[in-house]
Symmetry: C2
Subunit: 171 residues, 2 copies
Amino acid sequence: MKLEDAKQKFIQIWGTVGVEWGINRTMAQVHGLLLTREEALSTEEVMEALGVSRGNANMNLRELVNWGLVSRETKAGDRKEYFIAEKDIWEVAQRIVAERRKRELDPLMKMLEQLQNDTTIAQGQNKEAQSFKKLISDIHTLGKKSSNLLDLVLRLDQSTFFKPLMSFLKK
Amino acid sequence: MKLEDAKQKFIQIWGTVGVEWGINRTMAQVHGLLLTREEALSTEEVMEALGVSRGNANMNLRELVNWGLVSRETKAGDRKEYFIAEKDIWEVAQRIVAERRKRELDPLMKMLEQLQNDTTIAQGQNKEAQSFKKLISDIHTLGKKSSNLLDLVLRLDQSTFFKPLMSFLKK
DNA sequence: TTATACTTTCAATATATTCTGAAAGTTCAG
DNA sequence: CTGAACTTTCAGAATATATTGAAAGTATAA
């Protein structure tokens, strides 16, 4: 398999993975494309390589920059902007996890707390109300624990994670 | 806030969370509904409570059963099937994590391995090919480590996870 | 076996998401 | 300024996903 074909295949795989993770396909493909390139690419080059429109390329590049997965570069004597992906895959994973926690887990916790307040004030002590409160509380606790676990993992540095320092992770 | 309103709000929240996680809204709402009910509900009751069609209710209940989040029940002298959710939230989380790993992470690893083979055979030793191989290998390694970490977490029992036994997770 | 009670399927429809591309906006060299 | 080079926006079109509901399928009691 030629190198270009392999890169192309990787971009497709990355796009599919993105969709499974609830990220849009083009955004993941643009990310995949930039991961395979050492040099920064212009919007034009991304459009060309993936066959997408200017608007689409622009929007997804911006979103990748927002996620901290891609950064903008400029070249002297050139007005274009160029885009380059963070290549350290541990850094990439950390940013994705951090971003998703911020967007998904944190708001859920807030909503559960709100619901806990609303429910605590007005409920009687009947069995049905009790078990509903337990449900909310259990989910909240699990969310908090998961969040703490993510913190722990994010605080590990790459070498700690990659080298089998924790015996748990060996094999 | 009345208990019924609070339950209703919880179902909406759960639906929204589901969508963010890439699960369809109705499936998450049905799950939310069943989590709030001690007794098993029939398809009719789910249709009624959420205002969805028979086909939709049927399909999403089946999918929840596939995920192991809901089980079927029958009552003596009654031909209907009833559905009841697993209430142990730790069990719920384990099943969701296990299912997503099976559907998302495992296939990704397979595809990366395939790509590694394809690439190793034919590539030269130029710098570009080297860094592409490193990219694939880094992603593969990270995936493997993540998978091992998930295994560890799934092997913990609830009390280990919920009680602050691991000093890491305290606070 | 037949009628009834129930479950499942799936083509048509509705809804939600993503993409396009031309126009408007911005920046900057000259 | 002015215009060329570039970026951003956004209404409409295309695509993908979810839902409906009637018809077909299945199981059981009598």
